[in-house]
Amino acid sequence: MAYDKPLPSPDENTQPFFDGLREHKLLLQYFPSADHYQYPYSDRCYKDWSTDWEWRESSGNGEVYTWVRMHQLYHPSWKEEIPYTLAVVQLDEGPRMNTNLVNVEVDDIRVGMRVKVVFEDVTDEHTLPKFEPV
């Protein structure tokens, strides 16, 4: 069956990030003046207000900051998945990402658990960055 869940909708500023995902790279904004990684996208560093930045590839390593099991249905395409796991991953570079955990039993999920990024090619056009235990 064709993938029917909501797909990302890149805009001009974030297109390189989504292109990176298709190449199985997790890109973060890096602001050299504050030595600061930032996510999600902003045109300004919130630490020193610098607007000078570059894309850098993340190690993809981090830990589970927190997680929940979603039981509510907001979009029909999730019907078969419910309840599904949502998580926030604390990346080693500093930013936290909302994501899904995969390849793990629910009973084994813990705050602080080490994880790494895995790239799920959900369609020919779109890849999602999910995380699995190390």
Binding site: K5, P10, M70, H75, G94, N100
Partner: protein, 396 residues
């Protein structure tokens, strides 16, 4: 040492409309009802009102909420102070604070602070009212949220709650104790929507929303409005109803950045906001008799108790009996009207309104005997914004 403004201003009028599934009216109508009730409560005339601060709820984001045109709808012609305010759930306490500062310095005499909302539609669900139904899809990185299946405010609070629960070993049964305790108060609150008693078994049997939250961990969604009228202590003294004097005011807004340097889940703005308000009032946590805390979720109550210094981190649950449904069990004097979980969801006006009732001693069967210091909190975003009011029946 307290600040000289302690006890110099007061809430002199309170208007609470019908609450909950009240259909056929928009938010402006509820706002009109609340200000009518509030001036009647204070013994004022319409033309006495010379200040208006308004805060729409979720209907403010849907385009049908109250705003500056409310002045015209109400025909208020003597305004010397007018604003539309929004720091989400912290707004109600903030409106009272700015009103208090204004009346204290002569910018206005009687400021009506109004929260009004009417998101519930006949035949629609509470989830539909708050779930962003019909909103345009996000673009950019925000579009990853629905792609991963993140929806609604319940999710972000559940994420914060999970982190707190794992850190301190808090269980669902613990969250349930908060829910059940508040319902016992709501039974005695004529303004409350949910007045049938609740047991821990009922709590555990309520459906999952976003685990670790059951349905009974989550606040209601209500149509209605609350108006408080703020004036000077001198004016309030001679009015019809007994004043709730304002002793302390504070705000704290940590924001919520997704970065390692900002902790989410085990801290909130209440720490900074509370210290500011305690200092102004010249009191500390040990002096607090009654708490009216913003309780969008059961978890938020525990978080708030600890941030106000009323329990050590992770120990707020110790204030609650093992089985709060047991009529012999003594309840903590927290959320004495049932709170947003069981009475009505008027954002920050839920705690402020019950705080005024308790400070005045007009709580009927749910009145707390000792109510000299009443601590009220407002909280918005996902623990991003926070406001504090300390109220008292005593001017000094």
């Amino acid at each position: 040492m307290s600040d000289p403004i302690r006890g110099q201003t007061a809430i002199c009028g309170l208007g609470i409309t019908e609450m909950g599934k009240v259909y056929g009216h928009d938010a402006s109508w509820f706002a009109g009802e609340s200000i009518r009730l509030a001036i009647e409560d204070a013994g004022l005339e319409k033309d006495d009102i010379d200040g208006l601060l308004v805060n729409p709820g979720i209907t403010g984001m849907m385009g049908t909420g109250i705003s500056i045109p409310l002045q015209g709808y109400l025909g208020l012609r003597n305004l010397r102070l007018l604003n539309h305010m929004n720091s989400f759930g912290a707004t109600a306490s903030a409106m009272v604070q700015y009103a208090a500062l204004a009346v204290h310095h002569g910018m206005a005499n009687y400021v009506a602070c109004i929260f009004a909302d009417a998101p519930l539609q006949q035949g629609g669900s509470a989830g539909a009212a708050y779930g962003g139904a019909g909103r345009r899809g996000p673009t950019g990185m925000a579009s990853l949220m629905p792609a991963f299946g993140f929806y609604g405010a319940n999710t972000s609070y559940a994420l914060a709650a999970r982190r707190y629960m794992e850190r301190y070993g808090i269980t669902n049964n613990d969250l349930g104790r908060v829910s059940v305790a508040q319902r016992r108060y709501a039974v005695d609150n004529p303004h409350a929507t949910m007045r049938q008693p609740l047991t821990l078994e009922d709590y555990h049997n309520s459906r999952w929303i976003v685990e670790p939250f059951h349905l009974l961990d989550c606040c209601l969604v209500s149509n209605g409005a609350v108006c408080t009228i703020v004036t000077t202590a001198e004016r309030a003294r001679d009015l019809k109803s007994s004043p709730a004097y304002i002793w302390g005011m504070g705000q704290g807004h940590p924001g919520n950045f997704p970065h390692a340097e900002i902790e989410v889940g085990t801290t909130s703005g209440a720490t900074v906001s509370g210290e500011t308000a305690y200092r102004m009032a010249g009191v500390g946590p040990e002096d607090v008799d009654v708490c009216e805390f913003y309780d969008c979720y059961t978890y938020t109550v525990l978080r708030t108790i600890e941030d106000y210094g009323l329990a050590k981190p992770g120990e707020a649950i110790g204030l609650y009996p093992e089985d709060p449904a047991d009529p012999e069990a003594e309840l903590p004097t927290i959320n004495t009207g049932g709170g947003q979980l069981s009475s009505y969801y008027m954002w920050g006006m839920t705690p402020v309104s019950e705080g005024v009732i308790q400070a005045r001693g007009s709580g009927g069967d749910r009145q707390i005997e000792k109510h000299d210091i009443v601590l009220c909190s407002g909280n918005g975003g996902t623990l991003d914004t926070h406001g504090t009011l300390i109220l008292s029946p005593n001017a000094n």
